[in-house]
């Protein structure tokens, strides 16, 4: 489970304005975002961000617009320079890199997929897919095989000689993904990569990404404002609000134990039956249940269990991992888990 840490962000601050260093001191002394803007005309972009992103996992950074998520992802390849903090990739501090090292990192260490695709409109799909290789100095003949391989992998075999504007949005983003994959870099940054696509295509693309990830095991850092998307993709979920991290952890964990009213509001509307997995609600025990209605996998979502039980709440299921029992699931527990954690208002009032 615990893989090596690939990207590590430590105490990262970003302040936009004329004298960010001065403003940083105020922030460290506890000044908030609205006050800083009003009194010193500086915008607090990111505040004390600490995230570890593990090798081979999808880390999803979720937040509403203005929460600083796009700013955060651009720090990782230093498209934006931080005001303070450290960014380590494979244990090396990216902020110490000189221009050549940084260029090498961007060329070979990481690739990026953009919300608005950002393909080169005057190049063919093939040339776009091979852009990362072209930048490294390969000619079209040299990278053609590699680019075609990845285009085929994302389902665009027949479109190599077309221009981007001849493709639909979903197909353009497939080119964007092929371009990122063709660079063969271990880290992939995806900035709201699917947000501009319509829901059906978005779902297709999410499946494609998961399928590719199954095989390639890259370190993917994915930005989104869509909770369903983040729950579907994330191994590690980071929730960002107003430039600081509200909660981070395994998505199921956050769903079951939200620690902030902001997150509770957020998760109040989702379809819990589809998102929650058996392992999150089951009782962990090796003892066989008295009346076993059947075996279910720990990775099944609750929806499929409800379908299987035909709505009968008297049943008890055995939860297995690779054939061995790891727990039991009572349908009554399952039904209770479908009710969201109390809405934020009542909890806050109870605490007062």
């Amino acid at each position: 489970m615990d893989r090596e840490i690939k990207v590590s962000v430590r105490n990262l601050y970003k302040i936009f304005g004329e004298t960010p260093d001065v403003a940083l001191e105020y922030v460290r002394q506890g000044m908030g975002k609205p006050e800083l803007l009003e009194k010193h005309r500086h915008v607090l972009g990111l505040q004390d961000i600490n995230v570890d992103m593990r090798d081979g996992e999808i880390t999803v950074i979720m937040g509403l617009s203005g929460s600083g998520k796009s700013t955060l992802i651009r720090h990782i390849n230093r498209l934006i320079e931080p005001t303070a903090g450290e960014i380590e990739i494979d244990g090396k501090n990216v902020l110490d890199f000189d221009e050549d090292q940084l260029r090498k990192l961007r060329r070979e260490g990481m690739s990026m997929v953009f919300q608005k695709f950002a393909l080169l409109p005057h190049k063919t799909v093939l040339e776009n897919a091979g852009m990362a290789l072209a930048v490294r100095g390969f000619t079209v003949e040299e990278f053609e095989g590699e680019a075609r391989k990845w285009l085929a992998r994302v389902g665009l075999e027949g479109n190599a000689d077309q221009f981007p504007h001849e493709l639909s949005g979903g197909m353009q983003q497939r080119v964007g993904i092929a371009r990122a994959l063709a660079s063969n870099s271990p880290i992939m940054l995806m900035d709201e990569a699917f947000s501009a696509l319509d829901p059906l295509i978005r779902s297709d693309m999410q499946d494609l990404l998961l399928e590719l990830q199954e095989e390639l095991k890259k370190t993917i850092i994915f930005i989104t404002h869509d909770l369903d998307e983040s729950l579907k993709l994330a191994d590690h979920l980071v929730i960002l609000d107003e430039g600081h991290i509200v909660q981070q952890g395994e998505p199921q964990e956050i769903l079951m134990n939200p620690n902030d009213p902001y997150i509770m509001d957020f998760i109040a509307d989702i379809n819990r039956a589809r998102v929650l997995r058996v392992r999150s609600v089951m009782e962990r025990t090796q003892d066989a249940p008295a009346e076993c209605a059947g075996d279910i996998s720990e990775h099944d979502n609750l929806e499929s269990v409800i379908t299987k039980s035909n709505g009968n709440t008297d049943l008890v299921y055995r939860v297995t991992r690779k054939g061995n029992q790891i727990g039991v699931l009572d349908m009554k527990v399952l039904v209770k888990a479908l009710v969201p954690t109390e809405p934020s208002d009542s909890i806050e009032r109870a605490q007062l």
Partner: protein
């Protein structure tokens, strides 16, 4: 007694004024007054003259007259002219050669070679047979009414000047787009070049170069026509989609790779629009430049004005319109082709 005597006496400058008194150049008004014998009459407040250089000179002879300003400018220019020529002559000499060679080449090559070559160029840049037909018709019409040679001279000058405009203008535009400082320095110059009446360019050039040299009108045309290509190159590069630039950065492009693989190709529609404007403006200037011995259709227009030959002037004007339409259509068609290949 003049109006502003009190000014100089109160400043204690009376002696300085008297010291340098001379009766030499006088303003026309003073001369008229003198001859009428009305000088020195008391004036009412209604007639109070503005304290201009001439009015102050009346009170204080040592104060310079305004004509001395223009004269000083002229003398200053004449004084540096020789040194300026030493520098400018060798630099601009290739322009003369290019203009002379192109003029010679286009006029002396037989029409049955030049016209097919021009049509081939049109076909190459526009890929439109319709346009080739139109250009062929227009050129044949001009040739039929015996304006072929003049039209070729005009075209030759435009080709050379527009080419040099692009050669100089695109790099200047790129430099402007990369540095805000450069832009701040260049924009006022461009504004001046664009608003200065075209005749004004000719005045210092006539002093600097001999009228028999073709670079004289070449420089005038280039100065006048270079502005749009610089402006639109700058604008085009600044307007390149920020997302694409960000992608180029994220994939580790060097700034040179970014310029040649992303910025210039994406700015090309704007740059081509600038080239189109530059060509049209050099056509406008080539007519005016006939005043300083530029050959071509402009000479006929000038002849029409000078000798009151209405027909010659009108037909030559029509010829210029035909050339303008040809050049505009051809550059627009090639622009449309670039646009079609990279719409987003």
């Amino acid at each position: 007694m003049a109006t502003y005597d009190f000014l100089f006496s109160s400043l204690g400058l009376k002696e300085w004024c008297a010291e340098d008194a001379s009766d030499a150049p006088m303003s026309m008004a003073a001369l008229l007054n003198k001859s009428k014998g009305t000088e020195g009459e008391a004036t009412s407040l209604w007639d109070l003259p503005f304290p201009s250089m001439d009015a102050l000179n009346e009170s204080c002879a040592a104060f310079p007259q305004s004509r001395e300003l223009t004269q000083g400018l002229e003398q200053g220019f004449l004084a540096i002219k020789d040194n300026l020529s030493i520098v400018l002559d060798p630099i601009t000499q290739p322009l003369s050669w290019a203009l002379d060679a192109t003029l010679y080449g286009m006029v002396n090559t037989p029409w049955w070679i030049v016209i097919p070559i021009l049509l081939a160029v049109v076909l190459f840049v526009t890929k439109s047979w319709k346009l080739v037909g139109f250009v062929a018709g227009s050129l044949c019409l001009l040739a039929f009414i015996d304006y072929y040679e003049y039209a070729m001279q005009t075209l030759a000058i435009i080709f050379v000047c527009a080419f040099i405009c692009v050669l100089l203008g695109v790099p200047i535009g790129i430099a402007m787009s990369r540095s805000n400082m450069m832009q701040r320095l260049t924009v006022p110059v461009l504004d001046m070049l664009q608003t200065l009446p075209p005749f004004v360019y000719l005045i210092p050039l006539i002093f600097l170069f001999s009228v028999t040299e073709s670079k004289l009108y070449g420089i005038a045309i280039i100065l006048y026509a270079i502005v749009p290509v610089i402006r639109l190159t700058n604008l085009g590069i600044r307007l390149v989609d920020k997302d694409v630039i960000e992608a180029a950065d994220a994939f580790g492009m060097t700034s040179q790779q970014k310029l040649f693989r992303v910025q210039i190709p994406l700015a090309l529609p704007n740059i081509m629009a600038g080239v189109n404007q530059t060509i049209m403006m050099s056509l406008a200037m080539v007519v005016i430049a006939s005043l300083v011995s530029a050959p071509g259709l402009g000479v006929l227009v000038l002849q029409g004005i000078r000798n009151l030959e209405l027909g010659v002037g009108l037909v030559a004007g029509l010829g210029i319109v035909i050339l303008a339409v040809i050049l505009d259509r051809v550059t627009k068609a090639s622009l449309a082709r670039i646009n079609a290949s990279q719409k987003q």
